[in-house]
């Protein structure tokens, strides 16, 4: 993390809260697209491989579907950058801020995964470019397709793996070995979940973009339409049916401390939406014409929203103490800079015995009495040390150091410099008049 931490600023409580929302939004932009790109490219390659129509010079139905799938996956140059690469860069920043100064090292693997994904999207683009109807060299085309599918699968595995690692603090210390970092059933199930949701997304993508979107083509060959509808709905159906199983194994392998009752509730909500999609897809398969394209597509995006919330929750649960630490440090920083800001003006401010008494009664009395041991020593026994050493007492209260092994250390109280000076004057019975101006005000 050291390398990475240089680019990050230490977050505070509001900052962390903001990061949580940003995470869900970024995941919602990125994951459905990325899953669909993986699903469409894999399906396109599979269809391309089994496409026997090509030899019989009739309408190459499957080849055409393979091509149309790639038009969903990488429609142009802008979409993969906008939905693929940019959100990944944002995720890198979000996770880096969230885990600021933690011992987890997988933020170094994350960019490696991003590069592989970039290569995969590029290969997918070239695969599309060399396809039917324009493409001549089938071998080059198939090789590009395989390269695209392979790199996309590997790249998403690395990215998912490095992120899933965050929810497993017990293994953070192992993260200097990339192979050991990335071998875990938890990661494997999560990645399978992602790929299968990608197939569901590709299936629903066919139903939506071919038949229900505003961009749909006015005329479509009925035979082709039937094939596309059936392939799309059947594929989406398989994805929807297998997701509950993968979700189950993913939850079983998630570390206990990343879970909470809310996570299970979100998973059950996702299950209900999946059931609705199932019913719709069933009706699509049973009817001769394509229907519900837009609805199933939107509902599937809702499932992605729920899994994004789920990921956010497990991360919050797993990093609870780490976040508490960041917040507590931010508060300490804030208190310190407040103190320093005030220090500039204090010499002119009035040191006030009444204020000192008030501070003593509200702050110090938690731990001190004059004649009795509480948390700290009875002040009657320690104050004589400070007789005539007003400045020393002020600087001790400002930043206490270890004194007596009989007692625990005194934490720095959260009071400002004027209050410290006033309470010190009150305790030493000093006349505030003698402390005004230069002399006593110089603190340290």
């Amino acid at each position: 993390m050291e390398f990475f931490n240089q680019f990050m600023i230490a977050p505070d409580a509001q900052h962390l809260l903001l990061l949580r929302y940003l995470l869900v939004i970024t995941l919602l932009i990125h994951v459905p697209y990325m899953a669909m790109a993986v699903g469409c490219t894999s399906l396109s390659l599979a269809l391309n491989l089994v496409d026997r129509d090509r030899k019989v010079k009739t309408t190459p139905m499957l080849g055409r579907l393979a091509y149309d799938l790639m038009r969903i996956a990488v429609p142009n140059r802008v979409v993969p950058v906008l939905f693929g690469m940019l959100p990944l860069a944002a995720l890198w920043m979000i996770y880096g801020q969230w885990l600021y100064q933690s011992s987890v090292n997988t933020m170094n693997l994350f960019p490696a995964g991003v590069f592989v994904i970039a290569a995969g999207l590029l290969a997918a683009f070239m695969y599309k470019g060399t396809m039917y109807p324009g493409g001549q060299n089938r071998i080059v085309n198939l090789a590009l397709g395989m390269a695209a599918v392979g790199t996309l699968i590997v790249g998403t595995y690395i990215v998912i793996g490095s992120v899933v690692r965050f929810q497993d603090p017990e293994r953070w210390h192992m993260t200097h070995d990339p192979i050991r970092t990335l071998t875990s059933f938890n990661i494997i199930w999560k990645h399978l979940f992602f790929v299968m949701s990608g197939f569901a997304m590709a299936g629903c993508g066919i139903l939506y973009f071919f038949f229900d979107s505003s961009r749909r083509k006015p005329v479509m060959d009925p035979a082709y339409m039937k094939i596309a509808k059936n392939v799309g709905a059947a594929l989406a159906m398989k994805g929807v049916l297998v997701l509950p199983v993968l979700g189950f194994f993913y939850m079983v392998t998630t570390p206990i401390l990343a879970m909470s009752t809310e996570v299970y509730s979100v998973a059950i909500a996702a299950l209900i939406v999946l059931f609705i999609i199932f019913v719709l897809l069933y009706l699509v398969l049973a009817s001769p014409t394509p229907r519900f394209g837009r609805l199933t597509f939107i509902l599937l995006v809702v499932v992605f929203l729920l899994t994004g919330v789920w990921d956010q929750m497990t991360l919050v649960n797993a990093t609870k103490e780490h976040s508490a630490m960041l917040v507590s440090r931010a508060e300490a920083r804030e208190a310190k800079s407040k103190l320093e800001r005030e220090k500039l003006g204090t010499d002119a401010l009035k040191i006030d015995l009444a204020l000192g008494e008030n501070v003593f009664n509200t702050v110090c009395s938690t731990c001190h009495k004059m004649d009795e041991r509480v948390v700290g020593p009875p002040l009657n026994t320690v104050l004589p040390k400070y007789a005539g050493k007003y400045d020393e007492l002020v600087s001790y209260i400002q930043s206490p150091s270890k004194k007596d092994p009989e007692y625990p250390p005194m934490p720095a109280p959260s009071v400002n410099l004027l209050e410290i000076k006033s309470v010190a004057a009150f305790l030493l019975g000093q006349d505030p008049g003698t402390l005004q101006g230069g002399g006593g005000g110089s603190g340290h």
Binding site: P169, E170, H173, M174, L241, P244, V245, G247, F248, M251, V252, P255, I256, L257, M259, S260, T261, Y264, S265, A267, I268, L271, I272, L274, F275, F278, V279, Y282, A286, K320, E321, H322, A324, M325, S328, T366, C367, K369, E372, V374, V375, P408, P409, M410, P411
Partner: protein, 172 residues
Amino acid sequence: MKKFLGIPAGLGYFGMFAAIYLTMQWDWSSHKSPPHQPIAFSHKIHATTVGLECTFCHDLADKSTFAGIPPVEKCMSCHKNVKTESPEIQKLAGYWEREEPMEWNRVHRIRIREHVFFSHKRHVKKGITCQQCHGLVQYMDEVRRVSSLEMGWCVGCHQENGASTDCLTCHQ
């Protein structure tokens, strides 16, 4: 009508998973979530706000097998005077007056303790921090288990630190 038989079948399928997920949720909240304690004792208050050392309370950690949970007297050495108006502290004082030991719920327990030799002393003396094994306890309000305490976890760290991984080190 036969055409629509798939919908009840799907309802059964997804219903079964909903039941499984609900069971897992129940199992988590009743068996796996961190236990609640009889008194809302917070490590965050004592170890971070008040700034106490871990061994101030767990004074056996560098001397014996067990780290030990502090007795009520230790709490009362401060709480006779601190926060006496708080209902939680009054509960604490109740235990002290009745001379009743506090029944803290255990968070860490090696599952087959009788077959495993584990000692705090050996590890703490070597300079391994409490946090390496227990997580950032000083930022927890309620203690939860961060490490699994399974064999793979012990052995993993022993390998990294060149400590013995012989079976007889831990199983006698």
